[in-house]
Symmetry: C2
Subunit: 413 residues, 2 copies
């Protein structure tokens, strides 16, 4: 894939290309997006923009929405979203049995799951410009002989370039031969549905490039790959994911969304503004500046971002109501709304006296134990009993820890 100069486009296509490229992490190969837009114009047809969706997922979150909102932009320009339901791999399951997040599903479960999930996608996508395809339709009938032929265009070195494989290979962790086959399966999907463009998170870059090899091997024009950044979860560390519980679902009630979004670390305010809202670049820049100032300014910026996200899924009125309810709840609990961040010490579970000391809320672990015995310690306004000295990390991350009425800190990390 050599870097190329993008072709010169007529003004209306140039604008389209600029909007579609905005916010992407990478476009591979360079100039490819412009070429595909020209091609669609010349052939008088919409581009076929592929997105693979996971049939084991049941609840769409604002992290998933990043790529979906990009796909919606393509639809708004008249292009076609081709959603691939990965029901083949869903049925085979994860034969290594090592991944807790990928369980073997029956064809019925897969179909039921994906129906609910696809319905949620339509909160973001334009359902009139969607084609839904199931990869068991072409992967199911494939024989070993086909596999042997098709995989000849992929090299092991190429496959091991993928970041997670490269790291695991270098660390001498086991990679099963099956795992090496998965990128082939995804790549074959691109050939099967004649993809012009494939969208995905940056963790899918490699898989999506494999599609180019398979298409080329069949004499087809290779797809262009657009990657979108991955949104960090509420904890600010891991990527947002259902299995880690650090997510905001797009179908959650407005108030819950607002409350969860107010728990993100200050450092993520600009990131969420960029990836999870429709705020303009100028508005994002201003919020980013306020977030990095810290203190009450950062708190106000976070509030603006939370409202912008909620507005996207529930409308402006619901967003305002959610904000009001948030304030009322916090006032009733006498919980300070603008509190400094404090780092949550490492380990899981974490030792509460250590957390209180590290956050500077008490002078010593013996004072911490005293305050706990006295019932003066609260998490998000709820009193903690005497016995609870070690708490699961998940019960503390993002919460406000309070000693008495005056001292409080938001636990981060």
């Amino acid at each position: 894939m050599t870097a190329k100069t993008a072709p010169v486009l007529p003004p209306e296509l140039a604008e389209q290309a600029a909007v579609l490229a905005a916010g992407t992490e990478q476009i591979l190969p360079a100039g490819g997006l412009e070429e595909k837009l020209l091609l669609a114009r010349e052939e008088g047809r919409p581009l076929r923009v592929k997105l693979g969706i996971d049939p084991s997922a049941d609840e769409l979150h604002i992290g998933n929405a990043v790529v979906l909102r990009k796909l919606r932009q393509f639809q708004d320009y008249g292009h076609l979203a081709v959603l691939i339901v990965g029901d083949f791999t869903g049925q085979v399951g994860d034969p290594t049995g090592k991944s807790a997040t990928r369980k073997q599903l029956s064809r019925e479960q897969t179909a039921a799951n994906s129906a609910t999930y696809v319905e949620q996608l339509m909160c973001i996508l334009d359902r009139d410009r969607v084609e839904i395809r199931r990869n068991a339709d072409w992967l199911g009938p494939m024989t070993l002989a086909d596999v042997v032929r098709e995989t000849s265009v992929l090299t092991v070195a190429q496959l091991l370039e993928r970041d997670d494989f490269a790291n695991r290979f270098a660390a001498r962790q086991a990679i099963s031969l099956t795992e090496l086959l998965y990128p082939f399966l995804q790549g074959y999907d691109s050939y099967a549905i004649d993809a012009d463009i494939e969208l995905g998170g940056t963790d899918q870059t490699y898989n999506n490039l494999v599609g180019r090899n398979i298409q080329r091997a069949h004499g087809k024009a290779p797809q262009v790959v657009l990657t979108l950044p991955l949104l960090e979860g509420l904890d600010g560390v891991e990527k947002m994911s259902k299995s880690l519980g650090n997510y905001v679902a797009i179908t959650e009630p407005a108030a819950e969304q607002f409350g969860k979004l107010m728990s993100i670390p200050d450092a993520l305010v600009a990131r969420y503004a960029t990836l999870a809202t429709d705020l303009t670049p100028d508005e994002i820049a201003e919020l980013a500046a306020r977030a990095s100032a810290g203190g009450p300014a950062a708190g106000a910026a976070k509030r603006a971002v939370a409202a912008a996200v909620v507005r996207l899924y529930h409308g402006a009125d619901a967003a305002r109501a959610a904000e009001a309810r948030f304030d009322a709840t916090f006032r009733n609990r006498e919980l300070p709304t603008d509190v400094p961040d404090a780092a949550l010490p490492a380990g899981d579970p974490v030792h509460l006296p250590a957390v209180l000391t590290a956050a500077g809320l008490v002078a010593s672990t013996s004072e911490a134990r005293r305050q706990l015995r006295a019932g003066a310690v609260k998490i998000d306004g709820a009193r903690i009993g005497d016995g609870a000295l070690d708490l699961p990390r998940a019960e503390l991350a993002g919460k406000v820890l309070q000693v008495g009425k005056r001292k409080a800190a938001r636990l981060v990390g």
Copy 2:
């Protein structure tokens, strides 16, 4: 695979184990052969001893015979030879198109080839204790879903341990995903035919160990792998192979076999005695000593080995006749029978004046050209014309190059 102490065997099984282990390069795992022999005794059944055969091969040579003669020993103890005709891979062909030696074959070609080849195998094997299986019978119906499930027990690191893969991976040469699947296919064969033991050359060690993983994954007892050394070809460098032309076919006439065997370098005499004859260890040791003495002693040792090989396939009378004919031919051509070895210079084709000079048969390249013009240069007794200054390496290697009647050298390398 941990090294284990072999179980203690009753005397008759201990003798069987000693004979079967003799001449093997490796037995994996250690003690495994003894365990299988005991098992067969306990269950009152023959062992199933697997050997994969290549359906693209058409002429069996004495290099192939090394492992076949070991298989025959198993048969002589009452065990069953299970021959796997690789017609599945034969039909798929080598999709990389890089290997000139593995062409895509039709099912008919494959069947015809393997019938002829199997017939030749019966020159060495006992046809009453052979089961012939075609792997297209179980690999043909296999689906992608099966492949995904079955390959989960194999790790990439394991597969890349195979010598040729490891070298190519380190040298950044392309290894296709298909090639990584081949060991899986061979391994699956072992499960499909319930192999107790698999025989193979040392170049097959890794492939044959894969069978253990697949059998274990299906709850079967894993096979024991016996590897046999690879016999070098007549050139003394590459392993003996049809495609390199450096072979002695087992069905060749006795005289041709004898002549070819007399062309091996002195350094290979002991090796051929060990791997290609039924001479006793004492006889082999004596011939090895004579070969390393060089000169006429080495020539005589080579003659004894050649006669022993020919005897194996054509009987004692034919071997004696072949030797007599060889001597007569050489006398008629006035070719010296005991000539020193000379190294054939690198390159292909090789420049004859350079060869003559390097071998010390002429003083200078200009003398070489003069002798060639005069018609005084012969190869294996045949005069070389004036025009032929550059000759293919294969036409010179192992041959006697002669200038006039007195000066001669055998070209080696």
